[in-house]
């Protein structure tokens, strides 16, 4: 399985995702944002960080990079796209995923481990998880407050496009387990073809028991199937 990680000025989770992908036996390449072609990839990852210092809006400037046209083309031909944290913000800015990520409701940068519940395990990204399984993943963001209009929210629910919701350790998705104010506790969503996943939590930080836990591993092993 071949993967490409897009690197922007200000990306800071690019090395972490590369280590995770290599650990899972992906043949990975790092691609600088000024490139105008992509190597043949089964998976493209837009990593976390603070591309362009979050100028204008998080992900807004990176979303207009040269390489993004190629990412859009690849996505349209069915390539799997994973956007994590700033990568999720960039995907919404390009329009590849609908909605947007607002400032956290409490106005604070949040860096802690949270529980998220798997809402759909019948996708290329989540098939190795059990439905409603609770994962403990790290979040580290200032703009993670997912927002979308009511029509799109209805579509997300109707078409089962919500990937993960913030929850407690038993999977309750009450508002009190919502760290950032995201609409309906949404932590990650798919596009309608389910070949694009955007998520705020960091699965690549959870692939090694020695430094965290292994809850992120099955996301990558799902992709390998």
């Amino acid at each position: 399985m071949k993967s490409s990680v897009i690197v922007f000025p200000g990306s800071n989770c690019d090395r972490d995702i590369a280590v995770a992908l290599q650990k899972m036996q992906f043949k990975n390449k790092m691609i600088w944002h000024k490139e105008t072609s992509l190597p043949k990839s089964d998976l493209i990852v837009i990593p976390g960080g603070f591309s362009y210092g979050d100028y204008l809006r998080s992900g807004a400037i990176a979303g207009k990079s040269l390489i993004i046209d190629e990412v859009i083309k690849a996505a349209n031909s069915g390539c799997l796209i994973l956007g994590i944290c700033n990568g999720f913000q960039i995907l919404t800015e390009t329009g590849m995923l609908k909605g947007t990520l607002l400032r956290n409701k409490n106005l604070k940068f949040i860096n802690r481990n949270v529980n998220i519940r798997v809402m759909n395990n019948e996708t290329r990204f989540t098939s190795k998880y059990k439905l409603n399984q609770v994962l403990n993943l790290n979040i580290a963001h200032n703009e993670g407050n997912y927002y979308t209009d009511s029509n799109h929210l209805d579509q997300l629910k109707k078409d089962n496009l919500i990937a993960f919701k913030y929850s407690d350790s038993s999977g309750n998705t009450d508002d009190k387990f919502n760290p950032n104010g995201a609409i309906e506790n949404i932590a990650g969503i798919f596009n309608d073809k389910k070949n694009i996943l955007g998520m705020m939590p960091h699965p690549e930080r959870m692939v090694d028991e020695l430094i965290s836990n292994s809850d992120g591993i099955n996301l990558f092993s799902s992709l390998l199937d």
């Binding site: 204008l56 207009k64 607002l102 400032r103 956290n104 209009d149």
Partner: protein, 80 residues
């Protein structure tokens, strides 16, 4: 020509920064303060004397980059 673009959050979008500023001003004794919404302001100068073409160009800038139309509204004013 010079333009100014004011970008504000749509009415139904929560503005936590504006709320904090509002509460702080109330704490400073501004008791008749009703509400505050925080936004962004751009000063744009473009080399085009035809007002319609220039305004169209600024509008395009707003749609392509400056404004996130899902959550923000904008207003273009001519400065000179």
């Amino acid at each position: 020509m010079k333009f100014s673009v004011t970008v504000t959050l749509k009415k139904n979008v929560l503005d936590p920064q504006g709320k904090v500023v509002e509460n702080t001003l109330k704490n400073l004794g501004m008791l008749n303060l009703k509400s505050i919404r925080q936004g962004k302001f751009f000063e744009i100068e473009i080399e085009e004397e035809n007002i319609d073409i220039a305004k169209k160009k600024v509008n395009e800038m707003c749609n392509k980059l400056l404004v996130n139309l899902i959550i923000e509204d904008y207003k273009i004013d001519i400065v000179k």
